[in-house]
């Protein structure tokens, strides 16, 4: 990536790459959202899920995104996770403008830059924990010997080395979520994007998982947590509150 501004070929908009590194080189901007709009065409009327959202996330941050249902929180998460592209505005992820990418390019970005953790774990039922963790590496085209090694290491980071060959139905909820976290981490993505990661877990297990996120953050991972639970959001270091498609509050709490 060059550091000079890039002009896109389109005549209607000129995209300027934001400054992604602070002058002293200590802060790296991983996520730069610039005036993001998302509009859904519902036949007769147009629904604006997001209207003009801008914010930045730096490398190593631990951010919670909260908001009631219908606030545009899920839409924002889909955009951050590169599952969708904005109707308007630019999204820079780790120095790449992903707002105008096509499906396959987005798939590549999701594979390399984003680690997803879902509320319901979403593991492949018929595959072992190890194989589940290997899955992103398969799509990344990594040869099998290296895959095994990387997957084992990721499972080690979430303390599941002894459960590698178990299938999801032989694991507890907390263990399943840890497999899912290992899967998210295995490719060393820029961001770990967790959508209600404790939503399907009991309080004690939720606590364990949140401790794990804490530890991963201390190890240097950038974590974005999407939740509607205030006590979960309170574990993050920064909370972005969304309401009616706009950022209502963006505060550093730690």
């Amino acid at each position: 990536m060059t550091e000079t501004p890039i002009a896109t070929a389109t005549a209607t908009s000129v995209v300027t790459k934001p400054n992604l590194v602070s002058p002293d080189g200590k802060i790296q901007v991983l996520i730069a959202m610039q005036n993001i709009w998302k509009t859904y065409d519902m036949g007769a009327e147009k629904v604006h899920a997001l209207h003009g959202v801008s914010f930045e996330v730096h490398r190593g941050e631990y951010v919670a995104i909260t908001g009631p249902s219908g606030s545009g929180k899920s839409t924002l998460m889909n955009l951050i996770g590169c599952l969708d592209t904005p109707s308007q505005g630019d999204y820079w992820l780790n120095g790449k403008n992903v707002s105008e990418m096509d499906d396959d390019e987005l798939a590549r970005i999701r594979n390399q830059e984003v680690g997803f953790v879902f509320q319901t774990f979403n593991l492949l039922a018929r595959a072992t924990a190890l194989h589940n963790v290997e899955l992103p590496l398969i799509y990344g085209g990594i040869p099998s010997a290296k895959r095994h090694e990387m997957a084992k290491q990721a499972l080690g980071e979430v303390d599941l080395t002894d459960r590698m060959m178990h299938r999801p139905n032989e694991l507890s909820g907390g263990q399943r979520q840890r497999v899912a976290i290992a899967r998210a981490l295995v490719n060393h993505p820029s961001i770990l994007l967790a959508d209600e990661p404790t939503g399907a877990l009991d309080t004690a297990t939720s606590y364990d998982i949140m401790n794990l996120f804490e530890k991963l953050h201390e190890d240097g991972n950038t974590i974005i947590l999407v939740t509607h639970e205030h006590d979960i959001a309170a574990r993050a270091h920064r909370v972005i509150s969304i309401r009616d498609g706009l950022i209502e509050k963006d505060e550093q709490i730690k």
Binding site: R110, F116, L124, R126, I138, Y139
Partner: protein, 418 residues
């Protein structure tokens, strides 16, 4: 970017796991494919077996032999044309003329006297037994030179016996068995029609390659001198000729026979022959035309089975895509591109039908063993290969649409799918 080998193995592994998880469903889905492959195997083996048997049987008629009749060569279906029916018969003199040609070893006439002047079957009887199904032919002793019939016991009748109208005959192995159970038939007598015939020789048993309703008519024959047969049925014009070429002169012999017969039968220049010459080769190729037709019929029948199977596969793959919408969403979320999903489902469909193909090959092979009990059969190598490739191909063709549907799914909606 091309699909790397490890991806295919990975997909194959996943596909097998899915098949294992849905054993009954997978099996029911591929029943059509199994039936299709079994059909290919069984019919192909039967056709191949018949082909070999026909070739061997026809070749036993002698590779230097030409069978000449007044009808056009080839296998006739339905009524002959009026022109063909009205042709004048071949004659004894035609045979004598041909036998003098330089490229020929010999030529003999055959006259069929199976029925008498009034069209009734001529009865053959001896020691209280009677049969009307024996083939009765008059010919000349030179027939022995063709080498297609070998005398096992006694001798062939002589030219002298023909010229002096003696009631002698040479009998086939089945006639010998039927009428002369004990002791040698040579020297004994048979009654053909109202006349007594002395048996002078017994022919070696000819091998029966194809089942023919158990009549064994190749061995159920009696040969008698041409002149005697002629007297038995003076009005018979059912005459055909056997001409035998000198070794290595088959083509020259055919040309000479054609030229001679055209002159003798007064075929005008530029008009087609009014007779037909069958050689071993031409007989085999006309049988091949029939078996080839059957083979095409087989392809049609089995492709109906495969089509039905294919539709079943498409149906189940569509169900599978719907059932696994969420899995597809997850795979896309963690980096699967459209073509990755496409390949996953295509390989799954191909694995499914390929498995059906293998089961079909095993059942089909057992089927060919059963076929072998009633008719000649062997499995030509192309049959299992074609069966397997066709079944995998069916998976690919009918898996294409479901796989494309899966590949096109929106990741967000798929992840939300319950």
């Amino acid at each position: 970017m091309k699909l790397v080998r490890s991806d295919i193995l990975e997909n194959l592994w996943m596909a097998l796991a899915t098949l294992r998880a849905n054993k009954l469903r997978s099996f029911l889905t591929v029943v059509g494919v199994i039936i299709g492959v079994v059909t290919v195997m069984v019919i192909a083996s039967a056709i191949a077996g018949i082909d070999v048997a026909i070739t061997r049987e026809v070749e036993s008629l002698g590779t230097r032999s030409m069978y000449i009749s007044k009808f056009n060569p080839g296998i006739h279906v339905g009524r002959l044309s009026r022109e063909e029916r009205m042709r004048k018969p071949l004659t004894y003199d035609d045979a004598i003329a041909l036998s003098k040609l330089p490229a020929l070893d010999t030529a003999v006439p055959f006259i069929d006297v199976g029925s008498n002047f009034f069209g009734q079957k001529i009865q053959v009887s001896s020691s209280g037994k009677t049969s009307a199904s024996v083939g009765l032919q008059g010919t000349l002793p030179d027939f022995e030179k063709a080498g297609t019939q070998v005398v096992a016991e006694g001798r062939f009748f002589s030219q002298f016996e023909n010229d002096t109208n003696q009631n002698v005959c040479v009998i086939g192995a089945k006639v010998a068995d039927d009428f002369f159970r004990f002791g040698s038939p040579v020297g004994d007598t048979l009654k053909i029609g109202e006349q007594e015939f002395r048996v002078v020789g017994v022919l070696q048993k000819r091998e029966q390659f194809l089942f023919s309703g158990g009549s064994d008519d190749q061995n159920n024959v009696i040969y008698m001198p041409y002149n005697v047969a002629r007297k038995l049925k003076p009005n018979s014009d059912d005459i055909y000729l056997l001409a035998v070429a000198k070794p290595g002169q088959m083509q020259a012999a055919m040309d000479q026979v054609t030229d001679t017969l055209r002159i003798r039968r007064q075929v005008p220049f530029g008009k087609p022959d009014n007779f037909g010459i069958e050689t071993t080769e031409s007989l085999i190729s006309s049988f091949h035309a029939i078996t080839g037709g059957i083979a095409i019929g087989m392809v049609v029948i089995s492709s109906v089975g495969l089509m039905v199977g294919g539709i079943g596969v498409m149906n189940i793959m569509l169900v599978s895509v719907t059932e696994r919408t969420r899995e597809i969403g997850v795979r896309k979320a963690i980096g699967a591109r459209r073509r990755d999903i496409m390949w996953q489902f295509l390989i799954e469909a191909m694995t499914l039908t390929g498995f059906g193909g293998l089961v079909g090959l095993i059942i089909g092979w057992l089927g060919t063993l059963l076929v072998k009990l009633v008719m000649p059969s062997y499995v030509p190598l192309w049959a299992p290969a074609a069966g397997f490739i066709a079944s995998v191909g069916i998976g690919m063709i009918f898996g294409l649409w479901p796989a494309w549907k899966a590949a096109r799914l929106d990741p967000i909606e798929s992840l939300r799918y319950e």
